[in-house]
Structures are given as C-alpha cells and as structure tokens.
C-alpha cells in the first residue's frame, strides 16, 4: 500500500517536472485575464467614486444667512498636529483664517475640534498648482470652497455623519449597522 503511494508520488513529481504543468497553468491564467475587463480608471475622463466624508481640501462652513460659521476660537489651530492653521481676529470677526495646505496632513482633527462646526474637509483633491501662493488657502478661498463642494443639503449631511463624536456614539443609535446574513 505504502509502496504504491510513493510510486504514485514519484510519478506525479516526474510528470510535474517534465510537463511544465505549473507554468502552463500560470500562462493559462494570464491569457484568460487578457480577455477580462480591465480595472483601469481613465483618470481625467473618468473619476473614481469619492466616498462622502472624504478628507480633502478644507472649506469654511457658512450658516443659513450665508456668513461664516467660524468665530475664531482657535481650537482647530490648537489641535492641529502640524500647526498649519493661522487665525487672526479684528473688529469682532475673523480677519484671517489661513490653512497652509502644504503642511496639512489631512487628519481631520480640526473638524473634530471645532465646537461650532465651522470647518469641513471637502471632496476636492485636485488642487495642484505651479505657485505656492495659490495653494496657501485664505479665508475667501475657503468660504468659496464651501459653496463649491458642499452645496445645499450636502453640507448638513456632512455634519450629521462626520462631525464626531455626537451623543449617539456614546449609546446605541437605532438602525445601527449589523450583519444581516448572507445575501442569497
């Protein structure tokens, strides 16, 4: 019994060695894949779906009246691990709100730190430029980003979902996601 097993094993080995079976299998796979659909996204023409809450370029939120929500408390600047937010105030309002995008690490802590919900990270990730000044974000640019990338309901939804923690994170909210079984 044992003898026949080893003989079979040896024959198997010999067949494997001289038929190049594993190489042929690999070649069959690559040939098969040649006729399958490519996964490439043709970038400037097609774009990948950006998940809501993407941590891209910053924007300053506006309230219903169209004014900046930011009051300039400076918490975002305090929490920023790379210290890239600079704020000055004058005459009862925020004078300068500047984000040095080149220093920013997109951790999203400024959003979490802001008790006023005034700063958001938008879905914009295409802001390369030839000049450093154009990348350095000033207050008006940040405010226009809000109109551009967070229009209407989108901005509110952003705060519902990504301005955390909310009190529901400390409890069990209804409709919490759970495994619902295999989808047949």
């Amino acid at each position: 019994m044992e003898h026949s097993v080893t003989v079979r094993e040896i024959t198997k080995q010999i067949i494997k060695r001289f038929t190049f079976i594993e190489i042929l299998q690999g070649m069959a796979l690559t040939l098969r894949k040649m006729f399958s659909r490519a996964v490439t996204i043709q970038y400037p023409k097609e774009r990948r779906h950006i998940a809501p809450g993407f941590r891209g370029q910053h924007a300053l939120a506006k309230n219903q009246a169209g004014r900046a929500k930011c009051v300039g408390c400076g918490l975002c600047a305090a929490i920023c691990p790379s210290q890239c937010i600079h704020i000055t105030r004058a005459k009862g309002q925020v004078d300068k709100y500047e984000v040095d995008i080149l220093r920013c690490i997109y951790c999203g802590f400024c959003v979490e730190a802001c008790p006023y919900g005034a700063v958001v990270l938008t879905e914009n990730y295409e802001y390369s430029d030839y000049k450093k000044e154009n990348i350095y974000m000033k207050k008006d640019k940040l405010l226009s980003n809000w109109d551009k990338y967070m229009p209407g309901k989108k901005g509110e939804e952003y705060f519902d979902k990504f301005w955390r923690p909310l009190s529901e994170d400390f409890g069990t909210p209804p409709g919490q996601s759970v495994f619902k079984g295999k989808k047949e």
Binding site: F20, I23, G53, I79, K161, P165, D169, S177, K180
Partner: protein, 490 residues
C-alpha cells in the same frame, strides 16, 4: 613562487556596491552597502535613517490625542494597524477600555489592514523576483480594501480612524456588506496569485533555501511576526496577549519549518486566509452598542449637546457680570480677539465691537462671572446687562453645553491627562511586534515615547540573511523581511 609573484602584481579586492537609497528594490530608502566577490555577497551593511522624521521626539510635544496621526506615517502600508497599536497602548496607560463594538470594529479594520499590507508585500516581493503580473493582481484587491477604508473614515492610506477609547465613527451598513462580499471573493483571488507563483519552478528556485534562519537565531535576532513564524516559532501576540476582540475569534497561527524565504512566503499567504476568516467571524458577531467609551476625561464631548451655545442661530453674546468678577485677568489673557479690558482686581469688560463670541472667556473663568446671553449679539452693553443672568440661573441645556464646552477646550488645549508611570504595550501589526513604550509624568503629553518598530529590527537581520548568497538573493531577502522604511527610520 609564481603565485606569490602574481599576488603581488594583481591585488584583488571585493567590489563595493551601493544599493540604495535610490534603488528599485530597496522598498523605499534603505541603503545597503554590498561587498561582492563576483556575484557572491561577502558583506552587507544596512544604513537606515534617510526617512527619519523624529516621530518619537514629536510625540513628546503633542498630546496623546494629537500624536495619533504620526503613527499613520510610520508604516504607511498598514496605517490602521499602527493606529490600533497606538490607541491600545494609550488606553492601557489611561486605564480605560473601549466598548465592545468599537473593539470589534477595530479588529475588523486591523485585519483588513493586515490583508492590505500582505497584498502589498506579495506584490513587491513578486515584482522584485520578476513576476510583475502578481503585482497588479494584488493591487486590484488592495484598492478594494482602501476604498473600504475611505468609506469609513474618508482617507485611504493615512486613516487616523481609531481613537483613544473607541473609533471615530460607526461603520455604515454598506461597509459591512461590501466587506462581506470581499471576504467571499478573496480566497479565489489568493488562488490566482498562487497559480502564478506558488508551485512555479522559477519561484521555488529563487526562494527555497534562500536566507535560511533557524528558530533560535531568529529569536535572538529579535525577529517577530511572520518573519519569525516562518522559522517555526508560533509566537503571535494576537494569540498570546489578546487585545481588542482577538480573544473572541478562532484562528490559527501558520508557521513554517525551515525558515527560508519560501516558508515566510507561505506563512504570509496562509495568514491572508486566516485574516479573511477572522473578518468573517467578526462581521457575523458584530454586537450593537456605543463606539466610544463614555468617559469625558479621555474623549471629546458630544457635539450636538453643545449646540445651545454653538449653533449659529442662537446669536450668542458673552457678558461679564460685574459683581462676580474678581479681576483675575484669566479671561483677558485667554481672549484671542483682545476684546476684554480691565484693571487688575477690578471688574473686566468685554468690548462687544471687538468680541468674536468664541467662548474662550466662558471656559476660562473660574468664578462663574462670564455668562451667556442668547440672541444678544449686536446689542449694547446696557441692554446686555439687563438681559444677563447669573450662570447658575441659565436654562438647563445651556448649562450643560457650557460644561461640555469647558471640557472640549480643556481637552484640546491641554490634552487628556495620563497617570504617572511607564508601560510597554505591544500589538501584532502585519510586520511583527509593534511596541509602544510610554513614560508619563502625569501631564497631557508623554515624557518619552519610544517605538519598537519591527522593520528596524528586521533590517538589522539583513546581513545574516544575505551573506554567502548572490546579488539577486539580496533582493529576495529584502522582500521576505517585509520592511517599510517609514517605520524603520521613524
């Protein structure tokens, strides 16, 4: 005699080759100085530090909360695992425990990170040995995982998703469904990679008996993770010192026998399957519940409860009650708009024209002299004095909001305070044992943060693995120890 003469005339020496820091196969900026005799390696000297950013030192100047994104930038291939390693260590330092659901979620994303790391490892390892198709097949699946990361936290690589005391936000339902679909399909994808390389005679010739290291030597060298397990040592922190939800799942620790490159490769391939299995079990068992620990000392307070003060429609104005003010000047120093004036030991005053309503005075005042006037924005001082009431008599929701605001400001400006002492916590990241060692002096920032990075230790093992082999085997050895220089150099 002739030979001696010849030796005098022809002096031979080893060829000295600088491999790196710019080289296609050194996985970043590793620099190896090779002394080669023909193609045989005589000596290997690894040089590290080209990507040094001083993460350990930076950690000393940032609060425990702030230092989290730094860990993303260590092993950027599996940032999630590093984040988890950090938060698990800090939680232990604080003496808190994350809620069950958060632990499950962290374990799920940790295993996702392990899969994505091993996929990148397989991709680059195979590419180094010349099988370039595996590279792109691996990236196809890695993209899927990175997209899932983006779905839960908005970033693909530098995730910053776990938090001390839980996770940033709950996972959406689509995430679980998409991940379940991934785990369904992934085993067949692993088979695809294995069809190309696993039994391939060229792959076998390139990996079997290359870079052999015995179990004892591997332990002495300080190897951990799959690199150690390839030598047959079943050491896995997930199994021996379970953190998060690893004690609630059932998994094997695959080990090798010989300790060569092929064994380490097999170990990681089996780990891919194990991780897939772990994710499936965790998704099935994912319990409902909170995702943040309800301990205001260590987490940011809920933002919706601050709304009575912070919501823009409330038109808040701040006012200093003359009677209560002791004139300590705290608010004056805290005011970023320089709107507060007043002599020492005399009642201070807010210049409403300069005030930006930022609440800094509200949270700094120890004597309950700063009060909130709803709808008071733009009113004159006299009018405000009429409307203002003592903080104790404010409505309940505003009082609560004020307390939470105080916590928010304190948390961000000073950071959560850790108890004094030191501790070392290790977690099993895809590359091995990632340890965090904290020395705390009781303040909000660590006195010393030290990282035990597996990549650094594995890079030190390179000479042991390479000497005696050929130049091509150095590439295989770099691939097999799976190093990332971001973590190695820190």
């Amino acid at each position: 005699m002739i030979q001696k003469e010849a030796e005098k005339i022809f002096e031979t020496r080893e060829l000295n080759v600088n491999m790196g820091p710019q080289h296609p196969a050194t996985h970043g900026v590793l620099r190896l100085v090779l002394d080669i005799d023909g193609e045989t390696i005589v000596k290997v000297t690894p040089y590290v530090g080209y990507l040094h950013r001083g993460i350990e030192k930076l950690g000393e100047s940032l609060s425990y909360f702030q230092a989290l994104p730094l860990t993303d930038r260590m092993d950027y291939v599996s940032a999630m695992s590093n984040n988890i390693g950090y938060v698990v260590a800090v939680e232990k330092l604080f003496g808190i425990e994350a809620p069950e659901r958060a632990k499950f979620i962290r374990t799920i994303v940790g295993e996702m990170s392990r899969i994505s790391n091993h996929l990148l490892w397989l991709a680059t390892h195979a590419l180094d040995i010349g099988a370039m198709t595996v590279f792109l097949y691996c990236f196809r699946e890695r993209e899927w995982l990175l997209d899932l990361f983006e779905m839960i936290c908005g970033a693909r690589l530098t995730v910053t998703y776990p938090r001390v005391g839980g996770v940033r936000n709950d996972v959406p339902q689509e995430f679980l469904e998409s991940l379940w679909k991934f785990t369904d399909e992934f085993p067949s994808r692993i088979l695809e990679y294995e069809t190309l390389i696993d039994q391939n005679r060229i792959w076998l010739q390139r990996t079997v008996d290359i870079g052999v290291i015995s179990a004892e030597e591997a332990i002495n060298m300080g190897m951990t993770g799959p690199t150690l397990r390839g030598s047959g040592v079943p050491y896995d922190i997930r199994k021996h010192m379970p953190y998060d939800a690893y004690d609630k799942v059932d998994f094997d620790v695959p080990i090798g026998t010989k300790g060569d490159t092929y064994d380490r490769y097999r170990c990681r391939m089996l780990e891919l399957r194990q991780s897939n299995n772990i994710i499936r079990q965790l998704i099935e068992k994912l319990p409902p519940g909170p995702v943040m620990v309800d301990d205001p000392k260590f987490t940011l307070p809920p933002k919706d409860k601050m709304m009575p003060i912070t919501h823009p429609t409330k038109e808040i104005a701040y006012f200093i009650l003359e009677k209560a003010c002791k004139g300590c000047g705290m608010c004056m120093r805290a005011c970023p708009a320089k709107a507060i004036t007043g002599e020492k030991k005399a009642a201070h005053k807010i210049n409403q024209a300069l005030c930006v309503n930022c609440a800094n005075c509200l949270v700094t005042c120890k004597f309950k002299s700063v009060t909130v006037v709803s709808g008071g924005k733009g009113l004159s001082d006299e009018k405000l004095a009429e409307l203002a009431v003592a903080p104790d008599q404010l409505p309940e929701d505003i009082k609560q909001a004020q307390q939470l605001l105080v916590k928010q400001f304190e948390f961000i400006k000073k950071g959560p305070k850790a108890p004094e002492g030191d501790l070392y916590v290790a977690t099993e990241v895809p590359k091995g044992e990632l340890g965090f060692y904290f020395v705390s002096d009781g303040s909000g920032k660590p006195f010393r943060m030290r990282l035990r990075a597996p990549s650094f230790i594995h890079a030190g093992c390179l000479p042991r693995l390479c000497v005696g082999h050929l130049v091509a085997d150095v590439i295989a050895a770099i691939g097999t120890i799976d190093i990332v220089l971001g973590e190695c150099d820190r």
